[in-house]
Symmetry: C2
Subunit: 303 residues, 2 copies
Amino acid sequence: MRAPLFEAVPNFSEGRDDTKIARITEAVRAVPGVRILGLHSDPDHNRSVLTFAGGEDPVLSGSITLAKACAAELDLASQSGEHPRMGVLDVLPFVPLEGATMDDAIRLARRAGESLGALDFPVLLYGSAATAPHRRALPDVRRGGYEGLAARLEDPLWKPDYGPHEMDPHKGASAVGARPFLVAFNAYLDTDDVEIAQAVALRVRESGGGLPTVRALGFGVGGKAQVSMNLTDLERTTMPAALEAVRSAASDLGASVESTELVGLAPLKAILQTARHYLGLRELDAHHVLETMLYGAPDSRGE
Amino acid sequence: MRAPLFEAVPNFSEGRDDTKIARITEAVRAVPGVRILGLHSDPDHNRSVLTFAGGEDPVLSGSITLAKACAAELDLASQSGEHPRMGVLDVLPFVPLEGATMDDAIRLARRAGESLGALDFPVLLYGSAATAPHRRALPDVRRGGYEGLAARLEDPLWKPDYGPHEMDPHKGASAVGARPFLVAFNAYLDTDDVEIAQAVALRVRESGGGLPTVRALGFGVGGKAQVSMNLTDLERTTMPAALEAVRSAASDLGASVESTELVGLAPLKAILQTARHYLGLRELDAHHVLETMLYGAPDSRGE
C-alpha cells in the first residue's frame, strides 16, 4: 500500500511578475517528494494558483517552503488586483487524494497552520478544517480583505487559529483549509445573455434545489454566457449528469450548450464515468485502461 | 525518454487445466521487466490469451520463456477444443505501445521468430511481419489447423520463416506477428435476430464500405444480437464514431443498442476521445487527468 497522497492548491498574491512567480514555484518544486501539477497565473487578478501533490510530509514541507518564498518575494502593502485577498500566501487548501481521507487532510491543514503560525503568518483555518461553523466558508473568512484585516483580527469571532493576532502589513493573513477534490467544469451557451447562464446555474446547483454537491454560477466570458460549475463529489453527481442538467435547463430557456471546458485536472474516475454513461458500457473502470495497467498506482494494478 | 514499450498477446492451447495455465503464466511473470496485463482462459475453446508488456528485450525474453513453458507443459497431440489452432504456442502477436513504431514491432516479431525457431518451433510470420502478402491474414496462415499442418509445411507457399520444416506433433507450429493495438468493442442490440447484427456489422465495417480501420462481425451472444468490432486505428475511427454508426444502422433496421462492452484494454486516448466527443469539451488530453500527472509516463507529465 502506497502512502496517502495529498494535493495542495495554494493561491498567492502575484500574477504579473514572471520572475517572482518562477522563484516561488521553483522553491516548491525543489522540495523532495513534491510534484508540481499545475500553475495558473492571472495578471488581472494579480494572483497565481499553484497545484502540487505528494505524501503528507513532502506536501507539508512544500507548503512551508512556499510560505517562506511568498514572504521573501511579495509585499501585500504594495500589491493590487481585482481579486479579494488578505495575504501574500492568501489561501492554502489541502485535498485528500488516493489513500487519504478528509480527516487526514484536516490534520495536514492543522500541521501546516501551526508551521505557518510559527513563521508569523496569522492563520485562519477554513473549510473542513474550520474550528467554528461561521469560519467554514472561504468568502466569509476573507470578507473585508486585506484592507479590513487589522480590525478583523481583533474581533474575537475571527481571531487566528495560529500565529500572531496582529497583522504584519507585508504578509497579511492566510486561510488554510481542507476541502474535497473539485472538478471545475464550465458550459458555454449559444447566447451572450448572462441572465440565462445565471438562471441555468440557479437551477442546476444544489443550493437552488438542483443536483447534489454541485455549485454553479453564471458569467459572461468572451462574449458567451458561461455556466461555471464545481462538482465536489463525483459519487453524487457526475460530469454527464451535470451537463445533461445544464442542457435541459438551457433548452427550457431557448438556449443550448455550444461547448464545455475542464479547468485544471479531473480524476480518471470522472472521465471513465463519462465514457461509461454515453457509450452505455456494461462496465468500465481503471483496470480497462492500458496506461493504468502499465504505470498506475500499485493498488490499481491487476496483478 | 523512456524505452519503447511493446505488448505481446500470445494465445496458447490450454484453457482447462488451471495448474498448467498458472505454471505457464508464472514463468512469464518471473521474467524481469515483464508486466502481466491480463489472462483470459476459455474452457470451451481450450485456449488462453495472455497479455504482457515491457521493453523490447524483456518482452522477447518473456516470449522465449513462454515458448519453453508451453513445450514443457502442453502436448498438442492430445489437445482438443473448438478453436482452430496449429500449435501449443499458437499465435504470438507483438503490438507497438508508447514510443514504439510498427517497424519496431516487426523487428521484435522477427527476433522472437528466430529464437523460437532455434527452440525447434516451426514459425510462420504473419500480420505486418509477414514475408509475403498471402501470409498476412491469420486465418489464412492457420487454415487447415493442426490436422493439416504436416502437409502444409511441405507446401513451398507455406514453408516456415524460422525453425524446422517438419512438424513436431507435440509442439505443432506457431504464428508470430506484428499488429496494431486493437480496441475490442461490442454492441448488444435489443433483439435476438443475429441477421440484424450481421447487417449492421456489414454496414459499419471498412470492408463493407463503412468506417475506416473498423472490422465488425455479427453474432448471437447470451440471447442478444451482438455487433463485435475491432477498432484498429483510433486516429481514424474513435469509439463514439463506431457506436454512433452502429446506433444509426441498427435504427434503420428497427433495432437499438441496449449496452456495450469493452473486451480487454483500451488506451486512455480512447476514453478521452469519448469524453471529449460527448461532453463537447474544447480540449481534453492526458494532461487533464490527475492520475497521469501523478503517475504517468515521464513524457506525459506536465513538468
